[in-house]
Amino acid sequence: MNNNLSVESFVQTYLEEIGTKPQARFVSESLLREQVTGLADTMANGIPLFARLNLTIDHSSLLSFAKELESFLFLNSCENVHSTISCLSSPQNSSNPISYFAQRVLKGDGSYISTLSKTHNIPLDILAFFGVYLVRPIRQQVRKILETEHAFSQWRLGYCPVCGLWPRMSRIEPEYGRRFLWCIGCNGEWQFPRLSCPFCFEKSQDKLGYLIVEDWSNYRIYTCDNCHRYLKTRDERQPARIKADNFDIEYLSTSTLDKAATQEKYIMDFVVSSAFDMKDNESARAYKERALS
């Protein structure tokens, strides 16, 4: 693997240049706004927005962006991704494989991504990275609309209200010590209780705790001994070790913490997978009932 560019620089460049370019607007703003406004009520039932959203993605814009992202990955780290786009398969009826791939990622279909990885021999983590950052502009666009149309202040579930993905990091803010979970899908955050597991809603304080890694005292790794998941957390009340302007860079720069967590036998879910089966409202209701109990 050719590490000409550090991963932090790569993501920084992506966020600054690629993610804000006009071709990153793959979905009509007005149509999107109409749908989002109409679906805001589903969030009150614990159903994330993308579970119900049906997007018509502009294929040529998306393809152009996908090629740019692929080139960027190829030039800077990952030879394996060179033929990613050509390898993307689709059901026989689909004529837009890249759009189909994007739709599957937006729906959090982790099993589809895993199958694709095995079928075409593309490393899973690279395909996941490609998928997450391919659709990031779409998810961010939706989140921005939601932030103007609908407040997230009442959402207290563990998965993202927009994407339905599990959080990848969190932070403890300095003023009152509130915890905010971060979603890698849409780069958004929402408040969540400190002493509760976002992944299984365990509230028993005997099963919850956090790890501190030597020399990383401004981070905590919150753990749950019920579901054995962990969550890296930046404690903003402590002096920062890494000067990161955004969670993406921080997430990638703190792999030492992931190593520490797995060393202690904690796990994290696949980054692409939705927190629950979005076709199954029952899952959402069951999770929410547990959350409110």
Binding site: S6, C78, R194, Y210, T256
Partner: protein, 187 residues
């Protein structure tokens, strides 16, 4: 059909756990040697209520190896939402403070120095003085009515006492005939 927690977790772990590879691109800023075992410390957080006034603000106590390492306001508590007054903020020092007394110190009447005493001596001395004061100031009857009280002793409870201790203290005080019975939380 209701979903069990195991079924829910199974569905949510579709595919492969990401593990430490994240996205497969090696970080550069903070990479540690792959075989190095990282030193970690396990900490626990527990919610509690501030022991001081009657507002009852929520707090979170962090502990490591059974020692308190931090006390902060609980941001999810509906009463204080993470805020603390100056007393609550200083609560950590009730648990950990090098200036905290660890031995009984006694200054005799008219003396200008403190002497170290042991607990056995101190408890005996306190009991003896309570009895002496009570005997000296006890009033059995007043205006023909049985009162059985002592005006020479007052009892002041503090916020560091829990409910059970307060109950025992007030029962003991009443049994001795103490009527000057107060608590800091009422002030």
């Amino acid at each position: 059909m209701s979903t069990s927690r195991r079924q829910f977790l199974k569905r949510s772990s579709t595919g492969i756990v990401a593990g430490i590879g994240l996205f497969g691109i090696a970080p550069t800023v903070s990479a540690s040697p792959p075989d190095l075992k990282l030193k970690t410390f396990k900490c626990k957080e527990t919610t509690t209520i501030c022991p001081y006034c009657g507002v009852g603000c929520g707090q979170i106590v962090s502990a490591r190896d059974d020692k308190v390492i931090n006390i902060e306001g609980d941001p999810d508590h509906p009463i204080n939402e993470g805020a603390q007054c100056s007393k609550g903020s200083a609560l950590y020092q009730v648990a950990n403070n090098e200036r905290r007394l660890k031995k009984v110190l006694y200054r005799a009447p008219g003396s200008d120095k403190w002497e170290e005493k042991d607990w056995d001596w101190a408890i005996e001395e306190i009991a003896a003085r309570i009895k002496k004061t009570r005997d000296k100031t006890f009033i059995s009857k007043e205006k023909g009515k049985v009162v059985n009280r002592t005006d020479g002793i007052a009892c002041l409870g503090g916020a560091a006492l829990d409910n059970e201790e307060c109950y025992l203290l007030s029962k003991t005080a009443r049994a001795l005939g103490i009527t000057y019975l107060e608590h800091q939380a009422r002030i």
